[in-house]
Symmetry: C2
Subunit: 234 residues, 2 copies
């Protein structure tokens, strides 16, 4: 969907079904001019799998909306190992810490080919002064992030490897009714769920054998939500 279409959608007061931006409740209450301010086609760009959006410590001049794809936020631990602390999904925002931090707090790396819109922090701040809406939405957003993190923490710290992987796949497929799901590398699964790549591999192999998942391509699969849900509960 190009910018003209978005413009059109906006004019007609109808939300775009295809464009990830529509999910950004954050910007839902902006008027036409303000929306144009933050969403300019010239600020759109894409990154391939494995590319870095920003590194921890980089100057945080932009926040990003994720129009499509998947991002991982990673931290390096003292012992050199890697932990994925959060997954950013299509329609969400990346790098919000820029709003009161001069530097990004994590490494943001592309997990699944991603399209972004880059928004200068200065513009957000300007908007924030003018619009009480945005400030309110931002607060709501922080809370949502915190609560999601709490849920994630609870899940991560409970159950066997199988259950955690099942939960991850359900989480990744959330929103896709057909059960389509991106399958990360075994290493990434390990970094997300606190297990070794070998364990991740064995669990995936087991799920394949049992028919809980079916590979469509190397990193795309269809999951059987009922089976996985059942596994999570048990």
């Amino acid at each position: 969907m190009d910018s003209k279409q978005i413009d059109n959608v906006w004019k007609h007061g109808k939300k775009c079904e295809q464009c990830a931006i529509r999910n950004l409740v954050l910007f839902a209450d902006l008027d036409k001019n303000d929306f144009d301010l933050i969403h300019r086609p010239i600020n759109e760009f894409e990154l391939a799998v494995g590319e870095t959006l920003y590194n921890q410590g980089d100057c945080s001049d932009f926040i990003f909306t994720l129009r499509s794809g998947l991002i991982k936020l990673v931290s390096y631990l003292a012992d050199g190992s890697v932990r994925i602390v959060r997954i950013i999904k299509k329609g969400d925002v990346v790098g919000l810490e820029a709003l009161d931090n001069k530097h990004y707090l994590h490494h943001a790396v592309v997990l699944e080919e991603a399209a972004f819109c880059r928004i200068p922090v200065s513009q957000i701040k300007e908007l924030n002064e003018r619009s009480p809406h945005l400030s309110k939405q931002l607060t709501a957003r922080w809370q949502r992030v915190i609560f999601d993190a709490d849920v994630w923490l609870s899940q991560l710290s409970s159950g066997f490897a199988k259950q955690r992987v099942a939960y991850l796949l359900l989480y990744l497929s959330d929103g896709n009714d057909d059960g389509e799901c991106y399958l990360p590398t075994r290493e990434d699964i390990g970094a997300m769920l606190a297990m070794t790549t070998e364990t991740a591999s064995r669990v995936i192999a087991d799920f394949k054998r049992k028919g809980f998942i079916k590979l469509v391509s190397a990193h795309q699969l269809i999951i059987n939500k009922e089976s996985l849900n059942e596994l999570c509960e048990s």
Copy 2:
């Protein structure tokens, strides 16, 4: 420290060394009147170990400042088990989700005898409208919570039981240079660090044998920070 003293401290532009409220950067930029608005002696109260400040789903009419003691925020998992998702320490705020949520998101239970000041959400909101400071401080606070949660997640999901317990004790003793530290029940340690009470007990016993910790009373101990730090790194 009673309200007259606080009043006095405030007038003299000096921060109170005893009162936990002084740590609340959140309210640092308020003027005298605004401070009085949120901090009234009549709103102070205490709770004993095990008592509940609020339950998940309760109407969230107040936020609370923790003047002394320790609070745990707990979630019940699908299988009925309990996870402690966050620890609130002296000088921090509890229940901030009240600001844009009609209900509390967790159960808040007293871990170590606690003294609170209760602040009506309506007053915070009123203040928020008037003072751009507070709004800014709040944003900074959300971020801090999120970042802390990320660090906690990383620690929780890495290393052996011994290392996680060592990390917890260092975390709890943070700020006390003498290494004084509250020791939670084995069950609570388990709920925080994703291990069984038996494992928690064994680790504590091991630490005692090795001289990493020394019990002062049933739930109070002195830790050897160097030893525990070393253990965390290894």
